[in-house]
Every structure is written in structure tokens, then in C-alpha cells.
């Protein structure tokens, strides 16, 4: 899925990133996209970065992205379970 390097901690606009090395090469494009989440949703920038939690979430995204899933698999959403087919 190519998430490596393109995801930033919540609230972390590239202009204020403490990890500027992460941004080399794709600063403009991805900075615009991911830094824009707060802007797009009109969320406040309260200065918190949640870097530890984001690192965990990023690992989870990568794990999920790396798990083989047949293309025809329908997303579960809210389960609509019926009895009798076990």
C-alpha cells in the first residue's frame, strides 16, 4: 500500500515536523495531503502529536496492508450474522 514515509503523526503539519528527515523528497506533495487532514476536517491544532500512539497505529496499518486479501472479499461492516451455516 506504500504507507511507509507518507503517514505523519496526527496534527503534525510538515512545517512543524520535528522529524524533517521524514519529509525529504515528498515534502510538498504528501505534506499537502496529510497535513491537510486537520484543515479538511476543520480540526483544531492543539499542538499534541500523539507520536507514540501514532507509531502503534502505523504498525497496525502496515500489518493490515501486508495481509493478503482476495480482491472479491466484501468488507464486513456491521456483521449481519445468520444462524445455521456453521
Amino acid at each position: 500500500m506504500g504507507t511507509e514515509g507518507s503517514l505523519r503523526p496526527p496534527g503534525q503539519h510538515p512545517c512543524v515536523s520535528p522529524h524533517s528527515s521524514d519529509l525529504k523528497g515528498d515534502h510538498k506533495e504528501h505534506g499537502h495531503k496529510s497535513g491537510g487532514v486537520h484543515g479538511l476536517l476543520r480540526l483544531p491544532d492543539h499542538g499534541e502529536r500523539f507520536e507514540e500512539e501514532w507509531a502503534v497505529t502505523q504498525r497496525r496499518i502496515e500489518h493490515v496492508a501486508a495481509t493478503p486479501v482476495p480482491r472479491e472479499t466484501e468488507p464486513a461492516g456491521a456483521p449481519r450474522l445468520v444462524r445455521g451455516d456453521v
Binding site: 496534527g11 497505529t57 486479501v69 449481519r80 444462524r83
Partner: protein, 458 residues
Amino acid sequence: MSEPWELSLSDAAAAIASGRLSPLELLDATLARIERVEPRVQAWARLRADDARAAVRQPADSRASGTRPGPLHGIPVGVKDIFYTEGVETSCGSKIMAGFVPSYDATSVARLRRAGAVILGKTHTTEFASFDPSPARNPWALEHTPGGSSSGSGAALAARMCHGALGSQTSGSICRPAAFCGVVGLKPTFGRVSRYGVHPLAWTLDHPGPMARTVRDVAMLFDAVAGPDPNDPSTVPAPPVSGAVAALDDPRGRDAGARGLRVGVPDRYFTDGLDPEGAAAYREALRALGDLGCRVQDVRLPELFEAAMDAHEIIHNVEAAAVHADTYRARPGDYGHKLRAIIETGFHVPAPAYVRAQQIRTLLIGAMRALLRDVDVLATPSAPGPAPAGRASTGSPVYNRPFSFLGFPSITVPCGFTKSGLPLGLQFGGRPFEEITLLRAAAAYEASTPWSSRAPAL
């Protein structure tokens, strides 16, 4: 006779039905109990003693007019403070919701009332049923967490301040506090109990369900609240509820107990990080199930099980972010740190990752259905250990989370105590809509052990 507040829900209901105890006597005894222990336990967000007294008088009026009292007639219950209660503040453990008074009851609250239960008040929840703790304490050790998010429900039951309670589980919020507090919690199949009027944490993971002191008590509450509700589409295609109490009381089923039940013991995950006392209690519980005539056998979890647990967290965070987007935008400072972290990370998960997580869910549901052809239930520890010390954390939901992700039912029943006197739980998980199989297994186990009869010294 025991003090009325000491009676199990089933025994109290039987005493009321036979005329040996009046609902008012039970209510008065329970309120006196609350007065004595609540200052230390802090299980209640708000008590409604006057409303409860008025409710106790109502059925007597109904009886005079020939209406038959319901099976929960006069039974005092607590309701987690994310369930809407008509005319009673529902603040969800949050500054955001302080002062919110719903104009209607959640479906499960309305059904409890219809069955004759008396709503004593609202029990504490962690903030929005997430991870920022509530003021509730563990009655077995007041400096330990009661678990979460149904913290107050677990604590109130253990402290004998009510006879039944409603909880809800998105990851482990029924089974974890029930296990930490030494009571029984049933997380029903997704779609079995209506979510209508229950403040959402994550729509596709939220499960309302009953908590009580014994398996039969939980079955009585389950019979009252389960069933289709046009206000919650997920409940509509569910098969009819077929009487959990009747199934437990059926002499053939009761005599058979758990004999012949195929009990699966997962090869991994459910013992990762399990502490030594928890491991010893789990081994002993499996041995006891064998003694009851269960066929205990090892099962291999599907390969994608661990990826699925990561998928659970992605779905949880994204849906929580969506639930709270509007209020978070306006009042971010009124959210606790743990929920803020969930919301913020949820906002930044790429949409395709969320969809893929839901695809993995489809795959795991299929794989676990297949696994549950070979066994009738899975038996696991309910938590990696007893309630942790301190109240900053509500403990880990990792062993409960798989059944929330799957939507399959699960139940926890006390299975022992640590040397320091903290309760431990045994969890059963099973096939969709086969709650009765879980109740049967848990009831047989409970009847063969002394754990459920213990009460904390308060």
C-alpha cells in the same frame, strides 16, 4: 434468609414471585446497602431512589388491574451511563455530555422496565465507554481498577448494590470488568441486543449486554433485553430468542450440564502475556471442564488472527473519530488524553486501510465459523491477569477483543482468586446466536466451583 441485598437476582425474583419478599423491602435493603458502601466504591454516576420507589409502586397498581408482573418484577438494576434513560441525565462519563437528558429510553432499558425491573440509577462508565477511567473502584481491592468501560456496573454488582446491570462492549468492556469484579458478563452476538439509544463508540463493534452475579441471573436479563428492534437494523435478521432461562432450567439440559460439550483450547494469542496465577487458574478450569464431561481439545487459530486484531484497532479508531468529529472539533480540550489519541489517530488512517480491515474481518468470521464446526465453544482466560493496581488504566481487553471483532457471543464467569484475593475469569466464546450454549457451559462450570458465591469484604 440472607439479607435481601445479598440474594442473587434469580433468588430475589423467586422470593418476590412467591410473596416472601416485597419489591419495596428489596429496594429499601438495596438502598441501605448503597448508603453503606457507595462512598468507598463509587460505582454510581447518579442514583434515582425516588424514581425507583415510584416504579416499585407501579407494578402493584398493574397487578390490581389484572396485569401479570414481569419476570424481573421489583429487581433493582444499574444502567451504564451511555444508555439513554428518559428524563434522567446521561453524561457518558464526559464533560461534553454533562447535562444531557434524553427524551427516550434505550431499547434495552425500556425492555428491562417492561419486564418489571427497577432502574436504580446510572453506573459510571469510562469517558464515552473508551479508556479514560471513571471514578469507580474495585470492591475487592479499592486501589485497583474495576476494569472498563462498564466499570460502575461491575463494581456495583460485586459490592451487592444492585442485582443486575447493563454494560456494553466494543473491545472488552463487558467481560473485562465482570472478570475483574468477580461477576458474570455476557457479550451477546452482534445484532442480538439493540444498540438503539446507546451512545456509540464504534458502530460496527458496539455490543450492549447484561451483567450479573450468576449465569442464571445474566440469562434472565438476556431474555428480557434480546430480540429484534426496528430501531436497530442489525437486530432485524437475527433469529428468534428461544428462552435462555428455560433452556438452563430444563431438567434434561440441567442434568446433562456441559457433558459432551466440545471445548476448544486455542493454540496461542489467548495465553500471550498471561500471568502465572491466571495461567494456573485457567489450567485448573480446563481440568474442571474435563471432569464435567466436556471434550477439551486443542484448536489452531486461523493464521490471520493477529492481523485481524490489528484490523480491530483500526476500525475502532476510525469509527470513534467519525463518531466524535463534530464535538471534537468544537471542544477538543474536554476529551481525556486516551480518547483524544484514539480520535486523532483515527482521523489519519487512510480510508483503504479501514476497508481492508473490514475485509480481514470478513475473512476471520469465515475462518472462525469453520473452526467452530469442530468445537462447540472456545475456553480462554478472560484477561491476562487480575485487575491491575491503580486506577489510571482499566486493564487490557486483548482476550475479549476477538469476540467483539467477530460479533460472536462470549461470556465470562469467575474461575478463582489470586493469593491477594483478586478475582479471575474464564471466558467462553461461541457461534453466532448460540448464547445458550455459552450459558450452558458457564452454568455447569459455575455450579461445580465455589467462586461465584464469594463476596468482597466491604
